[in-house]
C-alpha cells in the first residue's frame, strides 16, 4: 500500500514537472527569435514529450506507450536533421 502511494505521488510530481518543462521549448518554437532557436526548441519539445509518455507508460503498465516513445524518438531525429539541412541550404532536397 505504502509503495503504491509513493509511486503514484512521484509519478504525479514527475508528470507535472515534465508538463511544465514543455513550456520552455514551446516558447522557443513560437517566439524564436531565429529559425535555429525554433528547431532546437522543437527537438527539445519532442524529447520532453517522449519522457512524459514514458511516465504514462509506467503508470498504466502497458507496452503501447513505449512503442509510441520509440516512434517519436525516430521521427524526431529525422525531422530535426531535415530541418537543420534546410537551415543550411534553404532547400531540403539536393
Amino acid at each position: 500500500m505504502m509503495s503504491q502511494m509513493i509511486l503514484s505521488w512521484s509519478l504525479l510530481v514527475a508528470q507535472v514537472m515534465l508538463g511544465l518543462a514543455m513550456f520552455g521549448p514551446l516558447w522557443r518554437v513560437l517566439r524564436g527569435p531565429r529559425a535555429q532557436d525554433r528547431v532546437v526548441g522543437l527537438d527539445t519539445l519532442y524529447v520532453t514529450g517522449m519522457l512524459l509518455l514514458l511516465t504514462f507508460g509506467i503508470r498504466s503498465g502497458t507496452v503501447i506507450y513505449f512503442e509510441a516513445a520509440l516512434v517519436i524518438a525516430l521521427l524526431g531525429f529525422v525531422s530535426t536533421a531535415a530541418l537543420a539541412k534546410f537551415l543550411m541550404r534553404g532547400e531540403v532536397m539536393e
Partner: protein, 121 residues
C-alpha cells in the same frame, strides 16, 4: 497502477527518486532554454534532458518492470541507445547551420572560418 501494490518499498523508493530526478533535470534544461541569452548558449540546455534526464526515467522504468516481471525490458534500452546516438548528431547539425547563417550575415559574435577563406558557392 497495475500491480504496484506488490512492489517492495526498497524498490519503490529508488524508482520514485529516479523519476523525480529525471523530470527535474529535464525541467532545468527547459528553464535554460528560456533563460540563456544567445543561441550558442542555449544549445547546451537540452542535453541535460537528453543525457541524465532521460537516463533516470528510463532506469526507473527498467527497475519497475523488471521487478514486476510483466515484460522484457527492451524498449527502454532501444530508446536510450537511439536518443544517445541521435541527439548529438542533430544538435551538431543545427549548430553548424546556425554558424553558417551567422557568418553569411556577418554577425560579429561568431568566430571566422578556420584558416581558409570562406568558400564561394
Amino acid at each position: 497502477m497495475s500491480g504496484a501494490a506488490e512492489l517492495p518499498l526498497f524498490v519503490a523508493i529508488p524508482v520514485a527518486i529516479l523519476l523525480v530526478l529525471g523530470a527535474g533535470l529535464s525541467l532545468a534544461g527547459s528553464i535554460g532554454l528560456l533563460r540563456l541569452k544567445s543561441f550558442y548558449e542555449r544549445v547546451h540546455a537540452p542535453t541535460i534532458g537528453t543525457s541524465y534526464g532521460l537516463g533516470s526515467v528510463l532506469l526507473a522504468s527498467m527497475i519497475f518492470f523488471s521487478v514486476l516481471q510483466t515484460r522484457l525490458v527492451v524498449h527502454e534500452v532501444l530508446i536510450g541507445i537511439l536518443v544517445v546516438v541521435t541527439t548529438p548528431v542533430t544538435l551538431m547539425l543545427v549548430t553548424r547551420a546556425a554558424l553558417h547563417r551567422d557568418r553569411l550575415e556577418g554577425n560579429p559574435e561568431v568566430p571566422p572560418p578556420l584558416s581558409r577563406p570562406p568558400e564561394q558557392d
